[in-house]
Symmetry: C2
Subunit: 340 residues, 2 copies
C-alpha cells in the first residue's frame, strides 16, 4: 500500500482504518500481543515494581476482623500517550483528566478495598479533586519573609488531602504506580495482573484509564525529531492489540473485570458497551458519555443495564459513590458464587 | 489527492509533507494566517485577558528609581496540543515540560524585568522547579488527625516557592496566563503582542514554548470521537502558519524577539537556527539539543554564535542564569541603538 502526497502539499494525512467488528482470531491476537510487547522499550525498574506489588498483596491478604481477607482492586486512571519519535518530542495523546479513577479510588478505600492506583503522571490524585491545579501556589500564602500558611478557603480541603492520602498510603491500603506511554501502561498492567493472580476472585480490575488505540512500534520509530520541513515522511501507526481479551483470558482469569466505554455520541454508547461486554468477556462495562459523565453512568452486565446517577442531596455526592457501592455488591456476589 | 488503505489493513498512516525551505510568499502567508484564525474556536474571556494585560503593562511603564521604565518580557512555555476532534478526546501533543520557560522567568525577574508568563496548563511553574511532581502530597505530612506540616527535607524549597511566587505576583511583576491548544496559544500571543506594542523596544518576546507544526482546522474537525473500529477514516492536518514572521512584522515590529530551536540531532541544529534567524528576522535564536539542553545552549545572532554553559560552581547554577544575563545585555544595547 502506497499513499503519496504531491510535493507542494503541506499536509499530514492520517488514515485510520481498522476493519474491525470482525473478530480477530486468537492466533492473530496472540501474534499481535507478542509484536506489541516485543516492540516495547523495556520497562524501567520492573523488579522493584513486582516487589512492591508482592508486599502490598501479601499485607492485604491476611484475614481481617470479619474473618475474610481484604479485596484488592487495581484502578487504572488517565490517558496514555503513543510516542511518534523514540526521543519523544511529539506524541498522540488521549484526553483523560483521571478524575474518574481518582474519585473511584477514594470510594473503593471507603468500601474497604485495598487499591493499586495505576495512573498517568500528572493526572488527578485521590483526595485532591477539590483543590486547584497548583495547590501549593494557590492554597498557601506567606505570613512574612519566611513563614507560610494555608489560605482560609482551602484550609479544610488541604488538611483532608494530606491526612487522608497519607493515612491510606502509610496504612498499606493504597499503592500508587505511574505511567506515561501505552507501552508502560500495558507492561505494568500485565505485571499487576500476574501478581494479583494468587488472590483469585478477590481481585478486581477497574479499567478507567483511556488507553490509546494506536501505536508506532518502537523499532519502526524514527530516532530523531520528525522534521517539519524538507521531505515527505510517513509514520505508520498500528492498532494496539485488544488487551482486555488477554487480561481476561491469560493474565487474570479469575478476577472481577470492569472496563469503561466513553463516547461523545450518546446514540452509539450502549450498543458499543454491549459489544465490549460480549467481546472481552467483562463482568461489567461502565458506559459514559463525555458531557454527562460526572452526573450519570450506565453499568452494563449480561443480566441488566443499571442507570447510576449522583445523589445531589448528599455531601459525598459524586456519581462514583453509588457506582462503587453497586460494583462492590456485584463483586461480593461474584466471590460467593457457588460454581467458583 | 486520495490515499486509501485496503480494507483489511489495520493502520493509520500519517503522511507529513511540507516542501518547505521554499520561502512562502507573503500573500500566501497572510492567507494562511487568516485561515488559521478564522478556523480557530473563539478564545474564552479575551476581554478579561486584554484588561489584565493593559493594567500590567501600564503599572510597569512608569519610570522607576533609575529614571527608566521597567522592561517587560513575554515568556512562552510548555508544548501546545492540536486537537483531532472538536469534543477533544485525542490530540497530537508536543513534548515540553516547561522547565526552560519557568526557570528563565525566575532569572528575568531577578534581572529586573516584569514577566508575562504564557504557559501550558500543567507545565512547570516559576519557583517550583526543585519540588516533586505532587508537592502537596509529597512535601507535607500530618502531625495528627487534623494538622499538617512541611517535611523537613522540603521545608526551605516549599517556603521559597510560596514566598517568591506570591511576592512576584502580588508585586505586579509576574502575570500568568495559560493555554492548552495551539489555537489558544496563538490567539493569546497575538493579544499580548498587540497590547505590548505601546512600549516599543522595551518589550521582549522569549518564545520558549514548543508550538505545534500541524493542526486540524476546527471546522474540518469531526465533532465526535474518532471511532477506532468501523470505517476508513482520514484526518487532514495542515501546517500551522509561521507566526514568527507575523509577530515580527505585524504584531510587535519594535520588540526584541528571541525564538528557540530544539533538535535531537546536534548535526543539523546550528544550520536550522541560522535559517530561523534569517527567515523570521529574529534578534536571536537560542539553539538547544534535547539531551544537553540543561547544560548548554548556543545563542545565535546575525553577528555571532555564543556558547552559553551553566556554571557548576555557583548555587544558582542553571544555564538560564548566564543566558538571561546575555540576552538582557543584548536587549539593553538594542533599546539604546541610536537608529531607533
Amino acid at each position: 500500500m502506497v499513499a503519496r502526497l504531491t510535493p507542494d502539499q503541506k499536509e499530514i494525512l492520517i488514515l485510520m482504518d481498522a476493519a474491525k467488528g470482525l473478530e480477530v482470531p486468537s492466533e492473530t491476537l496472540e501474534a499481535e500481543v507478542k509484536a506489541f510487547f516485543d516492540s516495547a522499550p523495556p520497562l524501567q525498574n520492573s523488579d522493584g515494581i513486582t516487589q512492591q506489588l508482592d508486599q502490598f498483596i501479601q499485607r492485604n491478604s491476611s484475614p481481617s476482623a470479619n474473618g475474610k481477607a481484604r479485596r484488592i482492586v487495581c484502578v487504572t486512571s488517565g490517558g496514555t500517550t503513543a510516542p511518534l519519535e523514540q526521543r519523544c518530542v511529539r506524541y498522540v495523546d488521549n484526553f483523560s483528566s483521571g478524575h474518574r479513577g481518582a474519585t473511584s479510588t477514594e470510594y473503593f478505600l471507603k468500601a474497604g478495598y485495598a487499591v493499586i492506583f495505576l495512573y498517568r503522571k500528572g493526572s488527578f490524585q485521590p483526595f485532591c479533586r477539590s483543590l486547584p491545579d497548583d495547590p501549593l501556589l494557590e492554597c498557601f500564602k506567606p505570613i512574612d519573609e519566611s513563614n507560610i500558611q494555608v489560605c482560609e478557603a482551602y484550609s479544610e480541603a488541604v488538611k483532608r488531602a494530606v491526612v487522608d492520602h497519607h493515612t491510606a498510603v502509610t496504612g498499606g491500603l493504597l499503592l500508587k504506580l505511574h505511567f506515561n506511554t501505552i507501552f508502560e501502561y500495558l507492561q505494568m498492567l500485565q505485571i499487576i495482573a500476574v501478581s494479583m493472580r494468587c488472590i483469585g476472585p478477590r481481585a478486581m480490575f477497574y479499567l478507567a484509564a483511556a488507553a490509546s488505540d494506536y501505536y508506532v512500534p518502537w523499532k519502526e520509530m524514527v530516532e530523531h525529531k520528525i522534521q517539519s520541513g524538507s521531505h515527505l515522511l510517513d509514520v505508520k501507526l498500528v492498532n494496539v492489540p485488544k488487551m482486555l481479551s488477554v487480561l481476561r483470558k491469560d493474565w487474570a482469569p479469575l478476577a472481577f473485570c470492569i472496563s469503561f466505554k466513553l463516547e461523545t455520541d450518546a446514540n452509539i454508547l450502549l450498543k458499543k458497551a454491549d459489544a465490549a461486554l460480549e467481546k472481552y468477556k467483562m463482568d461489567a462495562v461502565v458506559a459514559n458519555e463525555l458531557s454527562s459523565r460526572k452526573e450519570q453512568v450506565v453499568v452494563v452486565t449480561s443480566a441488566e443495564k443499571v442507570l447510576v446517577m449522583r445523589d445531589k442531596s448528599r455531601s459525598d455526592n459524586d456519581v462514583e459513590n453509588p457506582l462503587i457501592k453497586l460494583l462492590s455488591d456485584k463483586h461480593g456476589t461474584y466471590i460467593e458464587r457457588p460454581s467458583r
